[in-house]
Amino acid sequence: MLRLLSFALFIATWWIGSLLIGDAKLPAPPVVLATMIAEAKSGALFFNLGATLARVALAFTLAMALGSAIGYLMGRVRLANRLGDPWLILLLNLPALVVIVLAYIWAGLTEVAAIAAIAINKLPTAVVTLREGARALDPALDEMATVFAFPRGRAFRHVVLPQLAPYVAAAARSGLSLVWKIVLVAELLGRPNGVGFEIGVAFQLFDIPLLLAYSLSFAAVVLIIETVLVQPFELRASRWRLRAA
């Protein structure tokens, strides 16, 4: 309910803003919606959105899985951290553009290169977040698990994972947004389809309604996933936390 209200508020702000600033600088919601519908009707929206979502899903999963594992290791094993840290900082601070260009040059303008480049861009931020999470793990619970001879899997699932959950959530949310920002660059530079490609075209044509239509479509998809999937799950997973009085 409140979410809906807040969403309505957003649309209202936008609309008023566009009235004040002028349609040329900020197209009103109906204009963008019309563009969105036109693109949807032609099938281009779904085609491009689909292509991008597939890339996002792949790169995100890859980077989250690998990044979480590395981050966990670096947070727990001091040697791993010492060895990995300079690489991490380097990777963290390599511009997306450079990584993508190099990936395309080495592996060709292929889907694999694109996804790998995106994943490499996201990877270090997942590492950094999960590393903090692993460092903050409670040793008392570890000891408990050792005493009661929890097998590795059980200890991970029931002792470690719930402690990492907030870090995973943070890494996932900000990570998804990062992947999305970078997939656009990757598509701009070397893919023949996808939202990034269309946004590049829209930018060249300086077609702001088109630009917004594609941007907001993705945001809408994420909004729906959040509302329908992630947040109910999160609510369930954090039920044990006492509501503040």
Binding site: Y104, E187, P192, I199, G200, V201
Partner: protein, 307 residues
């Protein structure tokens, strides 16, 4: 259909670029079949993507400029260039602007598309320098992405813009005044005529191995250019590709495009390129042209029959 399979040429094309228009014409008129070529179009969204594609080996051919090709050659990458378009940028001002000549740009806010090493920008500086004006220090220069600067011009945030020809055409259609085209300043710098800055770029070894196919490709694109040069109806057909918002814009695109079809012998093009190369190097385009003082001699591709 021929008995043997057609040779394939992979071409990188920016979706909003003029090459895409020509390729559409080629397709719709079956010019590729007539040339016995299979044109594999790799659609890309940004101009730089073509360079990546060529370097990564995903395409055989892309469109870029000869200063870059020469620079690459001095760095060891043996690329070659064949003229494709002599459409050049222009300086645009609002209709009512008090700016009457290039010299009036002094002290104004000038939006330069493509950054500090843009060829048109360097040439403009060079020509004004001969009049004793150092535009870089005597006016407020704003660099930025071409579409953004065009939009800024429409807003009135800028006094003038030096932009790519297609954005200039769009501005023209919106009533902006063309202060001067870059081709207008070329003679002052020693060039004999309109020069084709843009051209097809490809690997030298590949071109030598596929001389015949390259020749057929060039002939085929000339055919397409001829159609676009003569048929107005054809422009209506490709209108959606151009992104032209209205008929006026489309007309401006058409006229500027037609002007930009290169028609000079390649030797003349090369001679002018030599001259301009020195100008560019002199004005501080070291970054652009690289360490060599002269245009690399193998830059232009000469194996097209009839040139």
């Amino acid at each position: 259909a021929t008995a043997y399979s057609a040779e394939t040429i992979r071409v990188a094309s920016q979706k909003t670029g003029t090459l895409a228009w020509e390729l559409a014409v080629i397709r719709s008129h079956g010019l590729d079949k007539k040339a016995n070529l299979a044109i594999d179009i790799i659609e890309l969204a940004s101009p730089e993507a073509g360079k990546i594609a060529l370097r990564a080996g995903n395409v055989d051919m892309m469109v870029s400029d000869w200063p870059w090709v020469s620079r690459e050659r001095t760095l060891g990458a043996k690329l070659q260039f064949y003229p494709y378009s002599s459409s050049l940028g222009a300086v645009m001002v609002p209709t009512s602007s008090p700016i009457r000549s290039l010299a009036d740009l002094k002290g104004r806010k000038l939006a330069v598309a493509g950054g500090a090493i843009d060829k048109s920008w360097l040439l403009l500086q060079a020509s004004l320098k001969r009049e004793g004006i150092d535009l870089k220090s005597q006016s407020t220069v704003v660099y930025g992405a071409p579409p953004l600067l065009a939009a800024k011009m429409l807003d009135g945030e800028m006094d003038a813009t030096l932009n790519y020809w297609n954005f200039c055409a769009a501005l023209e259609a919106k009533g902006f005044r063309r202060l001067a085209g870059v081709e207008d300043i070329l003679p002052k710098l020693g060039a004999k005529g309109r020069i084709a800055m843009l051209g097809y770029v490809f690997d030298e070894t590949w071109a030598n191995a596929n001389q015949d196919a390259v020749a057929r490709f060039i002939a085929m694109t000339r055919g397409a250019k001829e159609i676009l040069a003569t048929s107005d109806a054809e422009w209506d057909a490709i209108a959606p590709l151009t992104g032209a918002a209205d008929a006026a814009t489309l007309r401006a695109y058409r006229d500027r495009y037609r002007e930009g079809i290169p028609r000079r012998p390649i030797a003349d093009e090369e001679a002018d390129a030599r001259v301009l190369y020195r100008v560019l190097a002199q004005i501080g385009g070291r970054e652009l042209v690289g360490s060599a003082a002269d245009l690399d001699s193998g830059t232009f591709y000469h194996a097209i029959p009839g040139d």
